[in-house]
């Protein structure tokens, strides 16, 4: 076991053994271990296969920047692409490696590595062009998708997440050394503060390395626990652990996701993650830095790791990935690894530094000399070699000689980058630092403060000054931090991006992006092909894409490109950093807006009656409406609709129309307002009468229709289409407030306050007289298109005589909480007259027979009232209404506009379909001029054959002529263009 003495490690609970499975084999780790640290404890160094070439890969880092070690968590709904370097283990966890078949050790796909010379950058764009355009979609893409890639998408999605909002004065991102000092200085101030850290342990670099010996004369551990305790006990600071800030939006709006089950199996039905939406006046970014790697031949072999990650495995997890590692560096960040190894009684097999001896830190130099560590200054690693793991490296020393060193492990450091991802998301600007060779935050765009290494401030001795200077805006007491270090306080680096291989062959690979298998050769090729702008280069080569977004390598790519183009890195620029910082699950984003809560379901007040009477429902907007009522399991929808429709024509039917939008309009100027909103004129209407009305957009197109009931000049009730209710109310509000604020008028939705039942059919009067015996329903007392208020057993009721079926009919409006009583009454009294409920499909059929349109089905936002033949509904004497002027626009008075007509098949056995095109020729040839299309089509139980409504060019003048309907099989059906009315053309039934 690669273990250190665990007794002095406070992060790992070594008395608590945890069993987990990796690729079917059981291993043990300890509580506190990540998958990576537990596997390294078991000497597992091969964790996955790479994206494109299926090369063996190991753990490259010890944190969120990991490009390689992605695994599938089988025990959590098969969650793919989980970073093994941060995911904590728990008892019974099942993990699988990704992108390999049949096993991780023997992966057939690794043949790609041998064929790799034929997969250069842009390979897919160049190669899979022919022989036929369908080849890409049908053959190439499915094969490539199978061979390349990361984890498999989970089959089910059951994770539960919730959203939480915060409004605070200051948000501190990152609870490392600087974050903790900042938070501590804000204790008991007037500010409300949120301190967020991604880890379950605060302290950052103090936990992960031996750089700092003491803080204010306390050991780092003591200082952290004391500080955290103070913060936890404070009244004004809230601490969020295990929470990753993924997004930094405009107006200091942060999004962070909290893992609620770190180191334990997520419980079914419990919230797995919380998405925090944070509004804050000030953001303090103290989220640290990320170490970068170096490019040389085979720099991807398992057994190669970043220096600071190696040290983190030792300090944080009490595991040493190798007892005899070689170290290769070009900067001072490797010093503390050497110190940590020697402190624990180990020493590196060799220390290789690309810097010359005099540029290496004196303390480091002494340490190496004192411990007899082989030292190579001015030297570089030319390549790493081995099969499935590192076996040897080639080192070019200062004299130019090449030495071979046998080793199973290599630690790398290519420099450090401030973690500027969030800073640039906030639109802050970066500046290239020629001395530290990295991009650093320069100008904040929002109220953002950066502290410590996140601000590019790599000098430990400058921490106190920086904090006091930058937090001065809060008017708090200056802090005094006294740090004692084990290593030098300053950061020094010498430029090195890539070491060229000893012998260049077509198979030699120096990686620049480990996750996407991009090599430095690909970068060269892309530039030689003209992709020399960094954004183009990124997309052409896929460099720094993927789940890690090139966190350890993107700056190296800029360095290599700048050398190739002979430009400064600042001239090359960076690609844009976009949210999220690291992948977050869709479950977290969706929160509670999933499954049945995705969209509200609206139900009629008598919804339960429909269920117990076997209704089949359809979705209309957010509403659930009965579609049809089958009498038994065997009855099809077609049969049910024919039966229901026939029954309405012969006896009577009742429809639950409660979902229709209802708007009440009141005010001294209600009449003037209604005259402006609708096309019709309501001035001469008598109180107690009603009218079918159209609402247009300002472009003159039909937007909605409904029946308007006039109670008085100061009081109207309008109905709208089911789906258009909110839009119509919104439109009324908009015009009342913004265009005609001088009008005294108010409106509100009463859709849910009233249920609506539509009874229609020749026997309607017999039934309704029984239900409401005190009301006189004779033609004289209750004519068509009038309404009356009545009371029924203390229930106020409005009865409107109107019809959407073409039969005589009444609509009953009743308060929702009494709706069921009235509905059941109607059903019971109607039985003897053959009354049956009918659904929306029969309603559609019956209205189409009568030629009544449905807005949104027979119209599509490009149809005027004139196109529908509804000229009579336009109040021509009115000076103004919505869209009036548009009815005489050059486009709306065009002769060849599409107009509503009826369509009948010549052969009565032919079936038409909605969406079919109407054409003039029997033969179909391309290009085929089309007149228009069928908008509604039904089989009429009354006529005994198919009929349709259609909108076709110049339709009104084509009535009486023959045409053809095209079918998808390129056949044609002979049809006749007729008036858009098929039933009771004389309108005798409505007023009977």
């Amino acid at each position: 076991m690669s273990e250190l003495n665990l007794t002095d490690n406070k992060f790992i609970q070594f008395h608590q053994k945890i069993g987990f499975k990796f690729d079917g084999v059981k291993y043990y780790g300890y509580k506190g271990d990540t998958i990576a640290s537990a596997l390294l404890r078991n000497n597992i160094k091969l964790i996955g296969r790479s994206f494109k070439y299926h090369r063996p890969r190991g753990f490259y880092t010890c944190g969120i920047e990991e490009p390689n070690a992605l695994v599938q968590i089988i025990s959590e709904y098969s969650e793919p692409n989980t970073r093994a370097t941060i995911k904590k283990i728990y008892e019974g966890m099942e993990i699988e490696s990704q992108n390999r078949w049949p096993t991780l050790e023997t992966d057939i796909g690794s043949i790609n590595n041998i064929f790799s010379p034929v997969f250069p950058a842009g390979f897919y764009y160049k190669t899979f062009m022919g022989p036929h355009k369908n080849f890409w979609k049908k053959i190439y893409e499915p094969i490539i998708r199978k061979a390349a890639g990361l984890g498999k998408p989970p089959k089910e999605f059951k994770a539960v997440s919730t959203h939480l909002h915060h409004n605070v004065d200051i948000t501190i991102v990152g609870g490392g050394l600087n974050g903790l000092i900042a938070a501590k200085s804000l204790i008991d101030t007037k500010f409300s503060v949120l301190l967020i850290d991604f880890d379950d342990q605060l302290g950052g670099i103090l936990n992960n390395s031996n750089k700092v010996q003491s803080v204010n004369n306390q050991t780092p551990m003591d200082w952290i626990s004391e500080t955290v305790k103070e913060i936890e006990n404070s009244k004004n600071i809230k601490l969020l652990r295990n929470t990753l800030v993924t997004t930094y939006n405009y107006i200091n709006h942060l999004i962070a996701v909290e893992d609620k089950f770190v180191g334990s199996r997520p419980l079914k039905g419990k919230v797995n993650s919380t998405l925090h939406k944070i509004r804050t006046d000030q953001v303090i970014l103290s989220n640290g830095h990320i170490e970068r790697f170096l490019s040389f031949q085979n720099n991807d072999l398992p057994g190669i790791m970043l220096c600071s990650s190696f040290e983190k495995y030792m300090c944080r997890y009490g595991v040493i990935p190798s007892k005899e590692t070689v170290i290769f560096s070009n900067n001072s960040n490797s010093e503390s690894l050497v110190f940590s190894l020697i402190k624990k009684g180990f020493k590196p097999k060799a220390y290789i530094d690309s810097r010359s001896g005099e540029n290496i830190e004196p303390d480091l130099f002494d340490l190496i000399r004192k411990n007899d560590i082989p030292l190579y200054t001015n030297s570089q690693i030319k390549g790493a070699f081995g099969s499935k793991k590192l076996q040897k490296i080639l080192v070019e020393d200062s004299s130019g000689g090449v030495n071979e060193i046998k080793t199973d492990f290599l630690c790398l450091s290519g420099g450090i980058n401030p973690d500027v991802h969030l800073f640039t998301q906030s639109k802050g600007l970066l500046d290239w630092d020629e001395k530290d060779l990295t991009y650093k935050p320069a100008q904040a765009f929002q109220p953002t403060i950066t502290l410590g290494s996140a601000s590019g401030q790599f000098d430990f001795n400058a921490i106190t000054n920086e904090i006091n200077e930058k937090l001065d805006v809060f008017g708090i007491k200056p802090v005094e931090i006294n740090l004692k270090l084990n290593t030098s306080h300053k950061f020094k680096i010498e430029k090195l991006w890539e070491v060229l291989p000893q012998k260049q062959t077509i198979w030699s690979k120096s990686f620049i992006d480990l996750q996407n298998d991009v090599t430095t050769k690909d970068i060269r090729q892309a530039i030689s092909e003209g992709f020399d702008r960094i954004e183009h280069l990124k997309r052409y080569t896929t460099n720094s894409m993927g789940t890690d977004q090139g966190k350890i390598s993107s700056i190296n790519a800029l360095g290599i490109v700048s050398d190739l183009l002979d430009k400064k890195v600042s001239e090359v620029g960076t690609t844009i950093y976009r949210p999220p910082y690291a992948p977050l699950s869709f479950a977290a984003i969706a929160g509670r807006n999933s499954y049945e809560y995705y969209d509200p379901e609206r139900k009629s007040p008598i919804h339960n009656w429909h269920i117990s009477n076997g209704a089949v429902f359809e979705d209309v907007g957010q509403w659930k409406r009965p579609w049809y009522f089958p009498i038994n399991k065997n009855e099809t929808m077609d049969e049910a609709v024919q039966r229901e429709s026939k029954n309405v024509r012969e006896n009577a039917g009742v429809l639950d129309g409660s979902t229709l939008g209802k708007i009440e309009i009141k005010g001294k100027d209600a009449l003037a307002f209604m005259n402006l909103i609708y096309t019709n004129s309501f001035s001469k209407m008598k109180p107690g009468s009603s009218r079918y009305a159209l609402m247009l957009g300002e472009d003159g197109m039909v937007k909605d229709d409904g029946i308007i009931c006039k109670i008085s000049d100061e009081h109207f009730i309008a109905t709208t289409t089911t789906g258009g209710a909110a839009t119509v109310l919104g439109c009324m509000e908009e015009y009342a407030q913004t265009e005609w604020p001088n009008l005294n008028v108010y409106m509100n939705s009463i859709t849910e306050q009233y249920a609506t039942f539509n009874i229609s059919g020749p026997k309607t009067r017999n039934i309704i007289e029984k239900v409401f015996p005190e009301v006189n329903f004779s033609n004289e007392a209750f004519p068509f298109m009038t309404f009356q208020f009545h009371e029924y057993e203390d229930t106020p009721i409005r009865i409107l005589r109107a019809s959407f079926t073409g039969e005589m009919g009444y609509e009953i409006y009743v308060p929702s909480n009494q709706a069921l009583k009235i509905w059941e009454k109607i059903i019971n009294f109607g039985k003897e007259f053959g009354l049956k409920p009918y659904g929306t499909e029969s309603m559609h059929l019956l209205r189409a027979e009568k030629g009544y349109i449905i807005v949104g089905q027979d119209t599509d936002g490009s149809i005027t009232p004139l196109d529908l033949g509804l000229d009579w509904m336009i109040g021509k004497s009115k000076k103004d209404f919505l869209g009036k002027r548009s009815l005489i626009r050059s486009d709306t008075i065009r002769k060849d506009r599409k107009q509503l007509v009826g369509i009948l098949p010549i052969n009565k056995n032919d079936r038409l379909e909605e969406g079919q095109h109407i054409i003039l020729d029997k033969e179909i040839k391309t290009p085929m001029p089309m007149l228009g299309h069928i908008t509604s089509c039904y089989q009429s139980p009354t006529l005994g054959y198919n009929f349709a409504l259609a909108v076709i060019k110049n339709g009104q003048s084509l009535i009486g002529t023959k045409a053809f309907a095209s079918t998808p099989e390129l056949k044609t059906i002979e049809v006749e263009i007729v008036e858009p009315i098929f039933y009771d053309k004389e309108n005798t039934k409505l007023a009977s």
Binding site: L430, I534, G573, D699, S886, R889
Partner: protein
């Protein structure tokens, strides 16, 4: 996500509001005397400037009230919010307080480095 200071309810999250496009577009009355061009411009043409923009918002998931707003479209900074019946604030009373974040880089499609 903006924070919008509804003149009736106070500061609220953008998700409670709907944008109503350009403000102070006068609706001609619908009579036939209005020329095709004038009417067509009212119905179809709206300004879409980069910079200071007068626009309408409605607190649709709140008080349902419409109000006007002056916003810098290049920075998303809200410069003023005023009620629908208040006078339109003069353009020269606003300065671009925040530098444009896009900075119009001369390199690449996006480049957040400080321009020299």
């Amino acid at each position: 996500m903006l924070i919008i200071d509804c003149p009736y309810c106070g500061p609220r999250d953008q998700s409670e509001f709907s944008n109503g496009g350009e403000a102070h577009v006068k609706r001609p009355d619908g009579s036939a005397d209005i020329g095709d061009r004038e009417w067509g411009e009212y119905v179809f043409i709206r300004a879409n400037p980069k910079g200071i923009f007068y626009e309408r918002w409605v607190h649709s998931h709140g008080c349902r009230k419409w109000f006007n707003c002056v916003r810098d479209t290049s920075t998303d900074e809200i410069l003023k919010i005023y009620k629908i019946d208040e006078e339109r604030p003069k353009l020269d009373s606003f300065k671009n307080n925040v530098k444009t974040p896009s900075g119009e880089p001369n390199l690449g499609s996006g480049n957040f480095t400080v321009k020299k």
